[in-house]
């Protein structure tokens, strides 16, 4: 049984911030939604309410960086780059301010639909010079994201999970590394964020069907350790399947594709994720099924890569974990 951790970010941020007086907590009217309401109430002198004004918040954070502070910006991931893209470029990324963008609700982890779902954030941030990208996939990574982000000499964008988060790993994020979760020899599965849990659900059935699975989990997306990936690809016979909570253009699927192409790797690659589409509003489990981001989609992907039917049905996969719709760990419906 997987351990479930309630609101790991809330306590982790508070502990980190009070130990680092030059860390400031900024929020754009999503304070409880980003689990920093308790911090605001207990440490008001270290908290700045910036209102629903993300353009000003980005440039303001750049100014705070000039004064030697390290602002942690709390809002939904999508609001850190779509509206204030120009300010993010000019006031934060170009001058390499130590601004930490805490992007909550990555991809389809929100029922808020298109306006709330950051489905192309990794693509945007990967193409932005000076930006670092980290992504959390479990409670241990959420608990260590503040320290990891604040170790970066420059701006950093983090995909952060909130609410009830499973604990899949027992070690913190080590920036620049990747986690090897399986060391098989047929297929390499590459996941990040919430798709790692899906891959873990599929692993047992795949192994039972005779597929030897190698699996890596990425928490550091930029800068990326291409050599480590090449070593992993070199250890499998048939090829690579990527599964991402993001469009398949510009995210980790593209990252793997670029690394393979740049190095003349002639193995097959199948990229799973949102296929040039927006999503709509719905539960996470529903959206992952509807858009082909779940364990079953991964199994079908492995079948396609191997050109072989594995006779795996949904009943063979580990049980899907369903969040309670009105969980007390969620601040509000979104």
């Amino acid at each position: 049984m997987i351990e479930m951790v309630t609101r790991p970010y809330a306590s982790a941020f508070e502990k980190f911030a009070i130990a680092n007086p030059d860390v400031l907590c900024l929020s754009a009217d999503l304070t409880s939604s980003c689990e920093v309401d308790g911090f605001r109430d207990r440490h008001p002198e270290q908290f700045l309410s910036m209102g629903m004004a993300e353009q000003n918040m980005m440039s303001f954070a750049g100014g705070l960086g000039l004064a030697g502070y390290r602002p942690f910006i709390h809002t939904f991931g999508v609001f850190t780059y779509r509206r204030p893209y120009d300010q993010l470029m000019a006031s934060v990324a170009y001058p390499r301010r130590k601004v930490r963008l805490m992007g909550f609700l990555p991809g389809i982890t929100t029922p808020g639909g298109m306006t709330h779902q950051a489905i192309e954030d990794i693509s945007i941030m990967r193409s932005m010079p000076n930006m670092t990208i980290l992504e959390t996939g479990d409670a241990s990574e959420v608990e260590s994201i503040c320290e990891a982000a604040d170790s970066i000499d420059g701006p950093v964008y983090c995909r952060v999970l909130r609410g009830v988060v499973p604990r899949l790993f027992d070690t913190p994020i080590k920036v620049g590394e990747m986690r090897e979760l399986g060391n098989g020899s047929d297929v390499l599965i590459v996941t990040a964020g919430i798709t790692t849990e899906e891959a873990l659900r599929a692993r047992g059935a795949l192994e039972a069907a005779g597929v030897s699975v190698r699996h890596i989990h990425l928490h550091t997306i930029k800068p990326f350790n291409g050599k480590a990936l090449l070593d992993q690809i070199g250890s499998v016979k048939h090829g690579v399947v990527t599964l991402e909570n993001h469009v398949t253009e510009g995210g980790i699927g593209s990252l793997v594709a670029e690394t393979m192409a740049d190095n003349g790797v002639g193995k097959k690659l199948l990229r799973l994720g949102l296929k040039d589409t927006y999503a709509h509003g719905g539960s996470r489990a529903y959206l992952m099924r509807y858009y082909g981001l779940d364990a079953l989609a991964l199994v079908r992907g492995v079948e396609q890569l191997l050109d072989q039917e594995l006779d795996i049905s949904e009943q063979d996969l580990d049980a899907v974990r369903v969040d309670a719709v009105h969980s007390v760990a969620k601040a509000e419906a979104l």
Partner: protein, 308 residues
């Protein structure tokens, strides 16, 4: 570094340098010199508390953009002096005033005249649209509307550190069309940031022409007040009025000085070009020669010699 010359003389020197440069280079940002000469002269010569420059009088070449590997990167802020706690900071929000800003640095003895010869030359740091690494610049402001927000953030941080130095943002009135300007003012008021102030060149001009024809902005003094600033309206060419405006109490609020200016002040010939004044090119060699004689006479100098 203050008061080695009269502020009026510096303003005249700014107009002369920008005029000379534009004549020799077949065009330039003349109207910005007309409207802003007294404002820039007053900022550097009187209003701001700045230390001695920390960068060479003749600017270095472009040294690369900020990156993890560019260890020697510097901004152009060193021309405004060091970042110590008691000194003020200045952001030139409309970066297309760069030519005027460079001319000012020369007039107040912070940059050598050779710096202007590097203007807009490939490989130079003295760029046409002021960049972070251009003399007198500390942040990128070429995208209009971000300057006041950045200044507000820096001011908040400086206040939190107990620094006495303030933050001044030189702005252009076209920036009030950007929503971010109003976001910045409301944030300053909400957080009581009063160690930031702005001097806005209200010349009623923007790239396409007169602001009233491009996007009517109505009464901006009222708007600034309603968003939580203290706003004072003055004649931009009256230096004593600028001094008085700076004395306006603004505890808990940012001060915005709205300096109403003429985009042809000191170069009356440009009135023939009204309202397209953002960047003045010569329509013909005859016009260039006529403009040269007329404006040189008004500025009290000989006509400029040019070769191309």
């Amino acid at each position: 570094m203050k008061n080695q010359k009269e502020t009026e003389d510096i303003a005249l020197g700014i107009r002369r340098r920008v005029f000379e440069h534009s004549m020799q280079n077949n065009g330039g940002y003349l109207s910005q010199a007309c409207s802003a000469a007294e404002q820039m002269a007053w900022l550097y010569n009187e209003a701001l508390n700045l230390g001695d420059p920390t960068l060479p009088m003749i600017p270095g070449k472009f040294g690369g953009v900020p990156s993890a590997t560019n260890k020697n990167y510097v901004t152009g802020a060193g021309y405004n002096g060091p970042f110590t706690a008691d000194f003020d900071r200045l952001f030139i929000a409309p970066a297309h005033y760069a030519l005027v800003a460079y001319a000012t640095l020369i007039e107040v003895g912070r940059m050598a005249p050779e710096g202007l010869e590097m203007f807009n030359k490939d490989g130079s740091s003295v760029e046409m649209i002021g960049a972070e690494h251009s003399p007198g610049m500390e942040v990128h402001n070429g995208t209009l509307g971000i300057g006041l927000s950045t200044g507000a953030g820096l001011a908040y941080g400086r206040r939190r550190r107990g620094e006495s130095g303030e933050v001044c943002v030189f702005m252009s009135d076209g920036e009030v069309q950007e929503g971010q300007t109003w976001e910045a003012v409301q944030a300053c008021a909400h957080h009581g940031i009063d160690n930031v102030w702005a001097l806005m060149d209200v010349n009623n001009q923007q790239c396409d022409g007169a602001m009233s024809s491009v996007m009517e902005v109505r009464n901006i003094a009222d708007k600034f007040r309603n968003f939580g600033a203290v706003a004072v309206e003055v004649d931009a060419h009256d230096i004593e009025a600028l001094r008085q405006a700076r004395q306006e109490p603004h505890q808990g609020q940012p001060l915005i000085i709205l300096a109403t200016s003429s985009p042809t002040q000191g170069m009356s010939f440009l009135q023939k070009r009204f309202p397209r004044l953002h960047y003045v090119r010569f329509k013909s060699e005859d016009e260039r020669a006529e403009m040269n004689l007329s404006i040189a006479a008004e500025l009290g100098i000989d006509p400029i010699e040019f070769t191309h």
